[in-house]
Amino acid sequence: MPKVKVPRKSTVIDMTAMCDVASLLLTFFILTATARQPEPLPVDTPSSTVKIKLPTTDIATLTIGQGKVFFGVAGQPVRIRMLERMAERYNIQFTDQEKKRFSLMDNFGVPISQLKQLIALPNDKRNKEGVQVGIPTDSVGRNPSELREWIYNARYATKELNDKELRISIKGDSKENYKVVKKIIDILQSQEVNKFSLITSLEGLD
C-alpha cells in the first residue's frame, strides 16, 4: 500500500490580526482609565475585608489626615449650589467664574474666609502641602462649625438638585488619632447622619 503523504503545513501563524486587536484594546483601556487626581491631603487608608464598592454619585468625602479635615462632594452642579448657599450663609460674594473654578475642585480644606484665595490659585499650587490648612471643626460661640455647615449645605444641595439623600463617606488615615475621627462623627450625628461609610482598601482574611 502506498503511503499517504500528508502535505506539510507551515507552523507559522500570522499574528498580525491578533496584534491589531490587542493594540486596539490597549488603546481603549489606556484612554478610558481615569487618571488619578492629585490629592491635596494624601492619606493611607486602613485595609478591611469588605468588598462593597463605593458609589460615585451623590457622595461626599471627608478626608481626615494629620489632624486636618478636607471636604469634597461629587457632581459639579451640587458643588456650585453648595457654594452659593455657603456664600449666603457667610456673606461672601463669589463671581460666576469663581464658582466654575470651585466646581472643578475635587476637595478642599480651607476656612471659608480663605476660599477666595484658594480658588484663585492655579491647580498645581493648590495641591502643594501646607497650602490648605483644613476646614475648622470647632464651633465658634453660638455658630456651628464651618464643617457642619458645609456638610449640611451639601446635603441640602444634593436633595434639591438630585432628590437623593447624600451619602457621607469618611476617608481617614490609618495613623489618625481616634479623637479627631470621633469629632467628625459627632458633627455628623449632630445633624442626624447616623449612617455613613468608611473608605478602606482591600486586604485578605487575616
Partner: protein, 183 residues
Amino acid sequence: MAELDTSGGGKKKGGKVRSKKQSARVDMTPMVDLMFLLITFFMLTTTLAKPQAMDLAMPDKDEKTDDKFDVADNRTMTILLGKGDRLEWYIGLVDNPLTSPQVDNYGKNGIRKALLEKSKEIKSKTGKGLIVLIKASDAANYKNLVDILDEMKITNIGVGGGTYAIVDISEPEIGLLKRDGLY
C-alpha cells in the same frame, strides 16, 4: 510564529561585495505578550481602583431620651481600644466583670478567637446573640477602629440576634486601660 517581512526589494545588482543574506523577519511574539500584559493590567486597574466602603450605622444620638436601652450584662462584651494596637475586653459590667479583663491583640489569633468562642458560649447559654460594645479611647487610632469593625464583620456578630455598637468610653474604663498600660 508571527513575523514581519522586512526584506528589501529586489536583489542588488552589480555589487561586487556580497554581504551574507540575513533572515529579515522580526519575531512579533514578545510584543504581543507585552501587549496582552498591559491590557490585563489596565482592565484590572480600571475596575479595582474604586475604593471599598465599609458601612457603619451609629446608634441614634438623641439628647432627650438618654440611656434608653439597657443591655443584659451577661451577654455583653466590651472591647476597649488602647494604645500600641492593643485592646482589652471583658464581659459584664466594668466594676463587676463576669470575666476578668484581658489584654489582647487585633487579628486572627487575638480578639477573633475570643469573639468566636464567646459568641458561641453565650448563644448556647442564653439562646441570644452576643452584644459587643466597642469603646475607643483617645489613645487608639483610626486603623484600630476599622480593624475591630472588620472583625465584627468577619465573626458575624451583627447577624443572628447579636449586635455591635460604638459607644463613648467612660472614666472607669479609661482607668482600666491605664492600669494595664494601654492608655
